[in-house]
Structures are given as structure tokens and as C-alpha cells.
């Protein structure tokens, strides 16, 4: 499902002389006629997949490594191959964008990297520790302490104040209330919502809610922030602000950020873009 902005972009691009040519049309069809994805793929192809664009980061240790990842799952009687032989390395403090068309496997990859799901084959190593051998309880602890998730649809608890919403990951990690309160205050200030802590999510704008969701993801001081289409439900202005927020977080907290997005502009601001097509890194 395209956003209104994206539909406008596609319509505009389709009217340009370049896109009128049959060769370009054939190329676009490979990307579901989504010029943004197509351009992302071109850009990704132009970037070295093995190392970061920001050369300073290449000296940092690899925090996240995926090797020969494959994931298949059943939809009814059919088996869908979501990922095939995906290998990647992400360095500490790196900001990586994963792009691809719908169904390309980018969200699946993000969930595997976050320990929410297990790969059919291949290994994921985080901080040198393999997720494959972890039991359910260890995976929960890993998600709680190492990973922060940001979702497209925010998923804040509607009946809790912003303060309480930010505290939720701390509740599961067993953090003391006083520590949670201080951390929530710090994060709210970081995302510009310090004066909104007592408000309910319904009293905030879409952009504010997503910033709150990012702050929630940072509650347990994760090393890695995994964001699944965080701008997908926002207008361009708010989307830009969110990406800026990631950049700020990376700078302020040294957090590694993996961003799954359709948004070419957002992907462009990452250190590196990994493009997926039909479950394969292209």
C-alpha cells in the first residue's frame, strides 16, 4: 500500500520523458513500478555491500553479522521463501538502510536480526554471540537489553501516559522505577517531548507518537535500534524529522541503527543501503 505522497511521486515520475522509454519501464517493472525502490537498488548497487560508506566506521568492530540467512514460511499450503542466502555485516554505530519492494523480505530480515524469529538456516551473530543457540528466555533478554524496536504503526499503549509508555521496556527488564523515570525524562528531552510526558498518545501528533516510540525503544539503552518503516505512516516533514532523530541518536548514544524503508530519501541519509529483491541482497 503506497502512501499518498508516494503515489504522487510515482505519478509525477511516470510522466517524465525518461520513464516513457520502454527500457526504463522494463527496469521499473522489476521493482513493482516503484521508482524509489528502483533508485534505491541502483544506489545500493553503486555502494560496496561489504563495508560502510562512512569509512571511519569500518574500523569499528562488527556488531551484527548475518551469514547465509534463509527463511521460509508457510502461507496456507504454499511455502514462501522470504530470504535466501543473505549475508551482511553491520559495524558498531553504523546507520544502515534496508530497502526493497513489498515482499522483498526486508521486514523478515529485520525480525531475524532482532531475535524475534528464527532463520530456517544460516546464523546471526550479535556482539560475537550467536542467536541460534539462545533459548526463549535468553532471546527475550537479548531483545530487552540489546535491541530496540521501532514500528511503522508506533504501537504505543493508548491508555498509558507517554511517561508510562516509555517505561514499558524497563518494566520487562526489571529496571527500578526511579531509574525508569530518570531515563524517560532524559529520552523525552532527547526526542523533544519533555513537556508531553503526562499526555496520552491520542493527544500527540503522528510525528510526536513516532518520536515517543523511538524514545521507548531506547529505554533499555540498546546497542542496536531496528526500525521497520518508521516513516511509512508519516508525512514527509515528520518523516524527515524522524530520520534526523535517528542521526541524532546515533551521534548522542552511539546506537547502531538498522532502518527498513521504502523511502528513498530516508535511505539516502543512511551510511549504507542494503537492497533486497525477492529475498536476495542485490
Amino acid at each position: 500500500m503506497y502512501t499518498k505522497r508516494k503515489r504522487e511521486n510515482i505519478n509525477t515520475m511516470h510522466k517524465t520523458p525518461l520513464v516513457q522509454s520502454e527500457a526504463v519501464r522494463a527496469f521499473l517493472r522489476q521493482f513493482n513500478n516503484d521508482p524509489e525502490v528502483a533508485i534505491g537498488a541502483i544506489r545500493a548497487a553503486a555502494l560496496p555491500a561489504s563495508g560502510p560508506k562512512n569509512t571511519k566506521l569500518s574500523n569499528k568492530p562488527v556488531i551484527l553479522q548475518a551469514k547465509d540467512l534463509a527463511k521460509s514460511y508457510k502461507v496456507g499450503r504454499q511455502t514462501v521463501q522470504a530470504l535466501t542466502n543473505v549475508s551482511l555485516e553491520i559495524h558498531e554505530g553504523e546507520f544502515v538502510a534496508i530497502t526493497g519492494s513489498s515482499g522483498s523480505g526486508k521486514s523478515t530480515l529485520l525480525q531475524l536480526l532482532g531475535g524475534l524469529d528464527k532463520p530456517s538456516s544460516g546464523t546471526i551473530t550479535v556482539n560475537g554471540q550467536s542467536l541460534s543457540g539462545m533459548k526463549d528466555r535468553q532471546l527475550a533478554r537479548f531483545r530487552s537489553e540489546t535491541i530496540g524496536f521501532v514500528f511503522q504503526f508506533f504501537y504505543l499503549q493508548p491508555f498509558l501516559s507517554l511517561q508510562r509508555n516509555l517505561e514499558v521496556p524497563g518494566m520487562f527488564s526489571g529496571a527500578k522505577r526511579s531509574e525508569r523515570l530518570a531515563r524517560a525524562q532524559e529520552l523525552a528531552e532527547a526526542v523533544g517531548l519533555a513537556d508531553r510526558l503526562s499526555h496520552l498518545p491520542k493527544e500527540l501528533s503522528g510525528g510526536q507518537i513516532q518520536r515517543a516510540a523511538i524514545a521507548r525503544a531506547l529505554m533499555n539503552k540498546p546497542q542496536i535500534l531496528l526500525a521497520d518503516e518508521p516513516t511509512g505512516n508519516l508525512d514527509s516533514k515528520n518523516g524527515d524529522a524522524i530520520i534526523a532523530m535517528f542521526e541524532k541518536i546515533r551521534t548522542q548514544f552511539g546506537t547502531t541503527i538498522v532502518l527498513v524503508t521504502h523511502d528513498f530519501d530516508a535511505a539516502q541519509r543512511a551510511d549504507r543501503v542494503i537492497a533486497l529483491k525477492d529475498g536476495v541482497v542485490v
Binding site: L116, A140, F149, F153, Y155, P158, L160
Partner: protein, 633 residues
């Protein structure tokens, strides 16, 4: 693991999802449990009130009443032996009277003797003993004297295995034909043969109510705290039903639809004032009654023949005494010749020889009310009042009793004995003395009645040597009350299980739906670090809160319903209890509010139902793949 407070914070948010469903669940389940709470509180309250009232009456005691067989057995009125003996007595009497009349030189017409048997339709098999014949009565009395009914010694023997603690006996007083009430202190000289004269047997207190001389142990609970009676007054102490007391006090019966408040006020008025009320009666023996009736009929005859010169007045004319005196009928005119007087004297000698009373005897007798007993049950047995009265009403209901110990203190007790307990009681052989045995527990009384009561046979008899009595619980039926308690306890357990079952189904639906609605949220929680136990804890607390609300609603609504029930019915129940139980405390109230620790059991069952309802949906929920739930969104 998530802390209790944090789990509660998250659980509270679940209560705010789908509020209508939550409210409906809490309301429906709460009302189901509330019904149990209300039933418990009302039943406990009612039971306590019953127990309280019972203590005033006989209800807290375990007494069995032992009724012997009718002395003559079944089909006695067609007993050939009795009829033969009656005929023999009849023949002997006629023969003796003929001889005596001849000896005295007076006429005797044997056809005036009542035959010992009757044969209304001429069919030989339809010959019956004539109850009106003195010969038949004598035959019966002879039989009873030769075959005494089982009495206290027999009762002691058969009840020994059940460890009885006391024995009592009551003496029935037959209906005394010559005893009539003096309304407003005045005797009514109505003609029984002429209804127009105002004679109405249904107004005759002594004709309508059987009496008993009862031991103090049985009458004590019903005695009034205030009464004017004293042994020196020589008045006979009596306990009467409420309705009788109402009449004797000159009060109009309350209309059927009277309010409970009015009924209560009436009962309290009776208890306050009945002790000041006396019933004055005039006792006349058969000769005195005959003279009064002769005076009435002669006066009527003379009045009828006024102006009739051919009419000749009787030689001996009786007048009526002062109606307030209960005196003998005075002779107004006696124009009999010496020969007629001599003949009359010979007739008196003749009558005396054959046991007839020859002199008039009359006396004013005062009865002082010393106690009140409940009225005879009159409510249909299928009404609440009827059921209550049937269960706990006193066996003394409707009885006019004379407390034996008080009666024995009277200076004129011998004289009263001769009036109330005549040796020649007429046809009163059915009135056997009633025996009672008291036990210390309901179980002992129940066991005795169940195992020792005889079983009625088709020929109308019941007793056997081993089981000489027909036995029944006496007093307020404590035994039935205990049985009722056991039955309610069983009913409550079954109803409780049904309610818990229904509540589990309802709450499982709600918890299940809530969990289904929260799948995405659960997945998000898992993504941000929640363990399965965190999720289970949160839903556990949610279910506890939900079932806690159900328990709270059940307690509040249940107690409220019980309170409303009590507010609405306590007055009427008090009236029924006062009428059914008797007892001297008219201030006592019958309430339905009774605290029972079992209401906490109901609240606990509500919480337990919630927790049970949680198990399946939560287990199912935490086993789900969070990715699938996020993807489904």
C-alpha cells in the same frame, strides 16, 4: 520478571479495552454470584430469625408426640362383640327399669330408651352401634377399661434406646355441653330449637374449641409476662389462640389485606392487654339446662296462647334467672297436686337409681387468659406463609390449654375437675391422654420417630407391641428446620457449582476475546523484551482484577438485594413468625439479613472462576508466534 505493580499497571489498561464487553461480563457474572450471596444472606438471616423465634416457643426443643391407636381399633362401630354387649346392657336396663317402675308404681315406656344399634336402610350388613345410646356408650367404656391404651410406661420403654430426657402427658377436656360463655357478663337464654331466638352454636366458644390440661413444660414458652390471674381469684387459667383473644378483647378482626404494620401492632396489643381479659362462663348441668329450656319454651307457649281461653298453663312453671347471675331457674308457679308431686318424687328416685342427675347444678366460672398460642394454620400450604407455618409453626396452634400446675393451685380444683373432667363423659372415649417424650438432640428425636412410629394399616389400626404409638414431631418443628438447613446446604453447593460453571464460560469468552484483541500488543511487548512469564503475569493480574470486580459486584448487589428483600418483607415475616411461632416476646423481629462466612466463599469462587477461565486463553496466547501476530496486523 515484571514486578507486581508494573503488571498491574499494564493489566488495568486491558480493562479499558472493550469496556462494554467488560461491563457486561462483570455485570452478568456478578449478578449470578450476587444471586448466591443474596440467597445465602437471606437464608442465614431467616434461619437466625427462626432460631431466635424458636427459642421463645418450643422450636429449640426436640419433642415427639405419641398418639396411641384409637382404643377400639378399626370398624369398631360394626363390631359384633360391641353391638352384642350393648344389646345385652340395653336388655338388662329395660328389664331393670321395668321392675323398678313397677316397684315404685310409676309408668315406664321402654320405647323411650335409645336402641343400641341402628339400621338406617334395613340391610343387615348396615347395622351400626348407635353412638347416642347409653347402652352402647357403656359397652364401649367397658371395652376401653378392659383394653387400656398404651401410656407413659410404654413410651418410656420404647424410647429408652434414644436416651429421652423427659416425659409429659396432656389430659383432654371433653366438650362440656352445659358450659356457655356469658358475653358481657350476661347469659344468653336463646332457644336451641328456635334459631330466631338468637341461638348460634358457632358463637359458642366452648363448643368450638377443644381444651387440654397441659404440663407446664409445654405451656411455659407461651405464657404472658403480665396477667391478672392468681390462684386466689379461683379463675381457671387458659391459653388461647390469637383469634380467640382478639374476640374476647372485643376487637374486630383485621381485614385480610391489612398492612404488616397494623398486624404487628395488633399482636403487640394482644400481648399487652390479653392478660387483663377474662372469659366468664356459666356452667349448668343437664337438669339445670333442662329447667332453663323448659322455662324458655313454656314462656314462648304462654305468649303464643295469650287470649286463648282453652289454653291451660302447665302446673309447674319455671322462670328465667337474672341473666348476670348464672342462677338456677326459679319456680314461678307450682300448681301440682299432692299426687303429682309424689309421682314426680318417685320419678326422681327412679332416675337416681339408674344414674341420672336429678338436681340442678350451676355455677359461674371465670377463665383468665394467661397465655397466647398461635392460631391454627390457615394459609394455603403452597404459599410462603403456609410453608413457613408448616415448617416452623407450633403444634400448639389453635389449642386452648389450661396450664396444669396453675390449675392445680386453685382452691376449687376438685369442683372444676368434676365439671371439666366428669367421670361420665358421655361419648368421649376417643379422647385419649396424649403422651410426649423430649430428647436432647434433633438426631435422637428424628431417629426415634423414624424407627419407632407404627405404620397405619388399611383396617385403621397402627400400633404393634413393639411400636405402640404413632409418632410425630411436636412443638415448632426443629427437626424439619434442621433438615431444611441441610437441604439448603446441598442446594447451595449445586447452585454454586452451576454458577461457577456459567461464570467460567462467560469469563473464558471475555478473557479469550480480550487476549485475541491484544495479540498485536502482546507481540509488541515480546519484541521489546517481555518474557512469556511477563505476559502471563500481566494477564493473570488482569483476570484477577476482572474476577475481583465480579466478586465486588456480587457482594455489593447480593447484599443490596438481601437488604431490599429484608426491607420489603421483614414486617410481614415478623407477623407470620409471631402468628406461627407464638412465644411471649412480641417485640421480636424477623429479619432476613444474616452474615455468613460463606459469602467470602462465593467471592473466592468468583475469583477462582476467573483464574480457571484464564488458563486456556493465556496458554494459547503465550505460545503464539509474535511475528505472525504482527504480520497479521
Amino acid at each position: 520478571m515484571i514486578g507486581l505493580v508494573d503488571a498491574t499497571v499494564l493489566a488495568v489498561t486491558k480493562l479499558r479495552i472493550r469496556r462494554i464487553r467488560t461491563i457486561v461480563t462483570v455485570a452478568v457474572s456478578g449478578i449470578l454470584f450476587a444471586a448466591l450471596v443474596a440467597a445465602l444472606v437471606v437464608f442465614q438471616g431467616g434461619l437466625r430469625s427462626v432460631t431466635k423465634f424458636n427459642k421463645n416457643g418450643l422450636g429449640s426443643r426436640y419433642i415427639a408426640q405419641a398418639t396411641p391407636d384409637f382404643p377400639l381399633g378399626g370398624n369398631w362401630f360394626q363390631s359384633k362383640a360391641l353391638m352384642d354387649r350393648a344389646q345385652e346392657i340395653y336388655d338388662q336396663t329395660v328389664s331393670d327399669k321395668k321392675a323398678a317402675a313397677k316397684s315404685l308404681g310409676i309408668p315406664y315406656d321402654s320405647t323411650t330408651e335409645v336402641a343400641p344399634t341402628v339400621n338406617p336402610d334395613g340391610v343387615a350388613t348396615h347395622t351400626y352401634l348407635s353412638l347416642a345410646a347409653p347402652s352402647a356408650q357403656k359397652a364401649v367404656q367397658e371395652y376401653i377399661a378392659a383394653h387400656p391404651s398404651p401410656g407413659l410406661p410404654d413410651l418410656r420403654r420404647v424410647s429408652t434406646p434414644y436416651h429421652p430426657i423427659d416425659f409429659y402427658a396432656t389430659t383432654p377436656v371433653p366438650i362440656i355441653n352445659g358450659l356457655t360463655p356469658m358475653d358481657n357478663g350476661v347469659e344468653s337464654f336463646a332457644d336451641p330449637s328456635n334459631p330466631a331466638s338468637g341461638f348460634n352454636i358457632s358463637n359458642d366458644f366452648f363448643q368450638q374449641n377443644p381444651f387440654s390440661l397441659m404440663p407446664t413444660q409445654l405451656t411455659k414458652p407461651f405464657m404472658l409476662s403480665h396477667t391478672k390471674w392468681s390462684s386466689k381469684s379461683d379463675a381457671i387459667p387458659i391459653m388461647v389462640p390469637y383469634a380467640t383473644a382478639t374476640k374476647l378483647m372485643g376487637l374486630s378482626p383485621l381485614p385480610a389485606g391489612s398492612s404488616a404494620t397494623k398486624k404487628l401492632a395488633r399482636i403487640q396489643e394482644l400481648y399487652a392487654k390479653a392478660g387483663d381479659v377474662s372469659l366468664i362462663a356459666c356452667y349448668r348441668n343437664a337438669v339445670s339446662v333442662d329447667q332453663i329450656q323448659t322455662a324458655i319454651s313454656t314462656a314462648a307457649e304462654i305468649a303464643k296462647n295469650k287470649g286463648n281461653k282453652a289454653y291451660q298453663k302447665p302446673e309447674l312453671i319455671y322462670g328465667l334467672p337474672d341473666p348476670a347471675s348464672c342462677g338456677a331457674a326459679p319456680i314461678v308457679s307450682d300448681k301440682r297436686t299432692k299426687q303429682e308431686i309424689s309421682l314426680a318424687d318417685k320419678q326422681r328416685t327412679f332416675d337416681a337409681e339408674f344414674g341420672a342427675t336429678i338436681d340442678p347444678d350451676q355455677q359461674k366460672i371465670v377463665f383468665d387468659i394467661v397465655g397466647l398460642v398461635p392460631d391454627q394454620q390457615n394459609a394455603p400450604s403452597n404459599t410462603a406463609s403456609g410453608i413457613l407455618q408448616g415448617l416452623v409453626g407450633s403444634s400448639l396452634a389453635g389449642t386452648i390449654a389450661i396450664p396444669q400446675a396453675m390449675y392445680n393451685q386453685l382452691p376449687s380444683v376438685a369442683r372444676y375437675d368434676s365439671i371439666l373432667l366428669p367421670k361420665q363423659q358421655g361419648f368421649s372415649f376417643g379422647l385419649s391422654a396424649m403422651n410426649y417424650v423430649e430428647f436432647s438432640s434433633a438426631d435422637a428425636a428424628r431417629g426415634f420417630i423414624t424407627h419407632t412410629s407404627c405404620t397405619a394399616r388399611s383396617n385403621g389400626t397402627c400400633a404393634t407391641p413393639a411400636k405402640p404409638f404413632q409418632l410425630a414431631a411436636f412443638g415448632s418443628d426443629s427437626i424439619a428446620l434442621q433438615d431444611l438447613q441441610h437441604k439448603f446446604s446441598t442446594f447451595f453447593k449445586i447452585a454454586g457449582l452451576v454458577v461457577v460453571g456459567i461464570a467460567i464460560v462467560i469469563m473464558t469468552g471475555t478473557v479469550g476475546r480480550m487476549l485475541a484483541d491484544s495479540r498485536r500488543e502482546t507481540a509488541v511487548f515480546r519484541a521489546i523484551g517481555a518474557k512469556r512469564i511477563d505476559i502471563a503475569s500481566t494477564y493473570g493480574i488482569y483476570t484477577l482484577l476482572l474476577s475481583g470486580m465480579v466478586a465486588g459486584v456480587a457482594l455489593v448487589i447480593g447484599l443490596l438485594v438481601a437488604w431490599l428483600f429484608d426491607e420489603h418483607f421483614w414486617k410481614m415475616a415478623t407477623v407470620h413468625a409471631q402468628l406461627a411461632f407464638g412465644g411471649a416476646n412480641s417485640q421480636q423481629q424477623f429479619h432476613f439479613l444474616g452474615y455468613s462466612t460463606q459469602i467470602w466463599l462465593v467471592a473466592g469462587a468468583a475469583v477462582a472462576a476467573g483464574l480457571v477461565s484464564m488458563i486456556l486463553p493465556v496458554v494459547r496466547n503465550i505460545r503464539r508466534n509474535p511475528i505472525k501476530d504482527m504480520r497479521d496486523e
